[in-house]
């Protein structure tokens, strides 16, 4: 995934912790082999080469990542689109047979916007398998997942800062059992709306926080999905929240208690931009 993965963990035996981290890195390498679009024999490369009506078998993890991507596509009305406008709905996913079939040719997917988060989700499960419940794992700093905090702390300290001016701190959070994902533009960067192909204006950065579901914590046996992948979902929503209207962001957050989003708009005429925060109202 051409990025840095890091594991922070609290455990009395440093060697044990290092071995667990090594197992995480091996896992990330395996996912990269399945999901990289540049590797001609990856699952994704084979999917991208499918002619109309052709199908290919993929690993359970690839299929699961695609199912999550497809769900987020539907949820965001196509604002999060791993096919970047080439027709994600034309891919039929069969979770039972682990088969992907292209109804038409020419669909090109790039799981870059979700793969890091998905890898981080699986890494977190692995760390729990190793009983390293007090851990933080991230991919490229943009997909962060925190489990329990280190002893004596209430949460992992995280910050949000302005991508155009990294010294400008926007918010401090203290989080546990959650995924936090970031997407932002530096000067000269731009992103395109997959629905229109147009460059997007008006947003400088977005962050999404997704709590981990209880089930992920409870079930510590080796698992083969399906799973509620908090960091993958956070990655995808963050990308979508760079383009969606504020009302749409608000309504997605309202339908998903626990989900929180922050949006940093483009600076106004006076050069200032204030961070906006979205979250569902919590019932008393």
């Amino acid at each position: 995934m051409a990025t840095i993965f890091e594991v922070h963990t609290a455990h009395p035996d440093a060697q044990y912790a290092a071995q667990a981290a090594q197992a995480v890195f091996d896992l990330v390498d395996r996912l990269e082999r399945e999901l990289s679009r540049f590797l001609t024999n990856s699952d994704v490369a084979r999917i991208n080469g499918l002619a109309a009506g052709a199908s290919t078998r993929v690993t359970p993890t690839t299929l699961e990542c695609l199912v999550i991507a497809r769900h987020l596509y539907d949820l965001t009305g196509g604002a999060f689109d791993v096919s970047i406008g080439t027709g994600l709905p034309l891919l039929e996913l069969d979770p039972d047979g682990l088969v992907v079939r292209a109804r038409e040719g020419g669909v090109r997917i790039d799981l870059g916007g979700i793969g890091k988060g998905y890898a981080v989700d699986l890494a977190a499960e692995l760390l729990e398998e190793w009983d390293l419940g007090a851990s933080l794992v991230h991919g490229g700093f943009s997909s962060v997942l925190v489990l329990e905090p280190p002893p004596a702390l209430e949460g992992w300290a995280l910050t949000l800062s302005d991508p155009a001016a990294p010294a400008r701190l926007l918010a401090r959070l203290s989080a546990r059992q959650a995924a936090l994902s970031a997407s932002g533009l530096r000067k000269g960067d731009h992103i395109r709306d997959p629905r229109t192909g147009e460059a997007v204006r008006g947003r400088r950065a977005a962050w999404t926080l997704v709590p981990r579901p209880e089930t992920a914590k409870a079930d510590r046996a080796p698992r083969e999905g399906p799973r509620m992948a908090a960091a993958a979902v956070a990655d995808a929503l963050t990308t979508a929240f760079m383009l969606l209207g504020l009302e749409e962001i608000e309504s997605i957050c309202a339908a998903s208690p626990g989900l929180e989003a922050w949006v940093l708009p483009e600076a106004g005429a006076d050069g200032s931009a204030d961070l906006m925060h979205f979250a569902a109202p919590v019932e008393p």
Partner: protein, 479 residues
């Protein structure tokens, strides 16, 4: 945020708010009240229903159809066993009947679970003998256990009447390797050794078309190759899944650390030259068409703790080959402290250079024409190699009318080997094995070939100790 009412408000600057606490109980409240809605019902089930409707007419690509179904088992469900399983799941006509692994708590369970997801119903075994006793219908067994187990596992499977695919290194000892060749001959069963490059379409293309037919390199005089790996922590295991000591001993391991890091221990693995080098030295021999005549090597434990690393971590080797075209010197290095340039093989002839590796990402096949070599147009037209990448400084002379533009020596034309692998790395070699079991192909790496390769690499360990050049006799490779 707990108690947050205004969901669309501007966040106060940090100083005013201070660190926020995310209380899990509050955050999750309400989750269960909106089950299949919004984000958290991302609804595997829904997706499934949606897809089933459209999938009804779709045949899975791996549906057996007209191929003869084979009953298979896996012994050794570790890292490589899982890679092989992923590849086999894509090969039509295979039915997993059993999986055997002594790490029942972890690896065995994981692989059995994956197979169940693919609708196989394998029985799980700790002891391979019990498996062979009970699973009478097996046609073939795939073995991916630590090297020192290869000979006993392979020999017993062959004697039980199964065809065998055994991972490289064939064995960590020559006696072990010999017993495997003998068992294959005695039983008449097939034995494929897991040097998977022998079935890789790019390597086959280079061997058959570029070297043998077009002879693009002219006479190969030197080779260099390497497999460099970055420093890595020793492998570990989750405490909760540790294997009881008694069982470890029963299967030849002193403790969990040795069980996970068997490669580094004498008597269990064959050292880095066997672990990494054997793949590539096998290619040297294959492409040159002859076994080496001598070897010298320097190796040592330069970096790791000798208490947990009995083998050297670094080795540099020079082989001599005597080919019908003349002598060849072939260099190989493997080290485990810096991953610079990864792994590749580079064949250098008097007319060209072939740089390849198994990776589809790095060194996936480039061939360079020496400026003095005959034109390669014919081979470009035949599609054996790509057209050359245009040279930037191409023709200063033409533009300026000068006789010569004085510069660095001209670099050779770079062509691409136009063959890529679309399947997982091990799939073609496994496919070749199962085709052979069905009587439709010849093995690409029968035990005799695996044995020759074992002779070449195991000698390196001797040469390191001897600190001198060791000669091979042609009969060393025959059995």
């Amino acid at each position: 945020m707990a108690g947050e009412e205004d969901k669309n408000k501007v966040m106060p600057p940090i100083a005013a708010g201070g660190p926020r606490k995310l209380d899990r109980r509050d955050v999750l409240k309400g989750l269960s009240t909106v089950p299949a809605l919004g984000l958290f019902g991302y609804a595997w089930q829904q997706q499934r229903q949606y897809d089933q409707a459209t999938l009804q007419a779709t045949a899975a690509p791996a549906a057996a159809g007209d191929v003869q179904e084979l009953n298979i088992a896996l012994i050794g469900a570790g890292a490589q066993g899982q890679v092989l399983t992923d590849a086999m799941l894509r090969i039509p006509g295979l039915r997993f009947r059993a999986v055997c692994d002594v790490w029942t708590e972890y690896n065995l369970r994981r692989v059995v679970n994956i197979l169940r997801r693919f609708k196989h119903e394998p029985n799980a075994y700790e002891d391979y003998r019990e498996m062979l006793d009970k699973e009478k219908e097996l046609d073939a067994v795939v073995i991916a256990t630590p090297d020192f187990w290869h000979a006993p596992h392979t020999v017993e499977c062959l004697k039980a009447g199964k065809h065998v695919y055994c991972e490289k290194e064939m064995s960590n000892t020559l006696e072990g390797a010999r017993s495997m060749v003998a068992a294959a001959r005695e039983t008449g069963k097939l034995l494929q050794i897991g040097h998977q490059r022998r079935s890789n379409p790019r390597y086959l293309h280079c061997y058959e078309k570029l070297l043998n037919e077009a002879k693009l390199l002219g006479r190969i005089v030197t080779i260099n190759g390497q497999w460099n790996r970055a420093v890595a922590a020793d492998l570990g295991a989750p405490d909760r899944y540790a294997i009881p000591e008694e069982r470890l001993k029963q299967y030849g391991f002193k403790n969990m650390h040795q069980f996970r890091n068997w490669r580094w221990y004498k008597g269990l693995g064959g050292g880095p030259i066997v672990d990494l080098g054997s793949h590539q030295i096998d290619i040297y021999t294959w492409f040159l068409g002859t076994n080496p005549s001598a070897v010298m090597a320097s190796g040592g434990l330069l970096y790791y703790d000798p208490a947990t690393h009995e083998w050297y971590d670094t080795v540099m080797v020079v082989y001599d080959y005597q080919t019908p075209q003349g002598p060849v010197k072939a260099y190989y290095q493997t080290q485990t402290t810096n991953g610079s340039q990864g792994y590749f093989e580079n064949f250098m002839g008097d007319q060209g250079t072939l740089l390849i590796s198994e990776s589809e990402l790095n060194y996936a096949g480039k061939i360079y024409r020496d400026p003095n070599a005959p034109a390669w147009d014919e081979w470009i037209q035949k599609g054996y190699i790509s057209a050359p990448k245009l040279q930037e400084l191409q023709s200063q002379e033409e533009k300026s009318g000068a006789i010569a533009d004085v510069r660095e020596s001209v670099s050779p034309d770079e062509h691409t080997v136009p063959v890529v692998l679309r399947d997982p790395y091990h799939q073609p070699h496994l496919q070749n094995f199962f085709d052979a079991v069905r009587g439709k192909a010849k093995l690409n790496c029968p035990p005799e070939v695996g044995y020759e390769s074992a002779v070449s690499v195991l000698k390196v360990n001797e040469a390191i100790d001897a600190k001198s050049i060791l000669a091979f006799k042609p009969e060393d490779f025959h059995i």
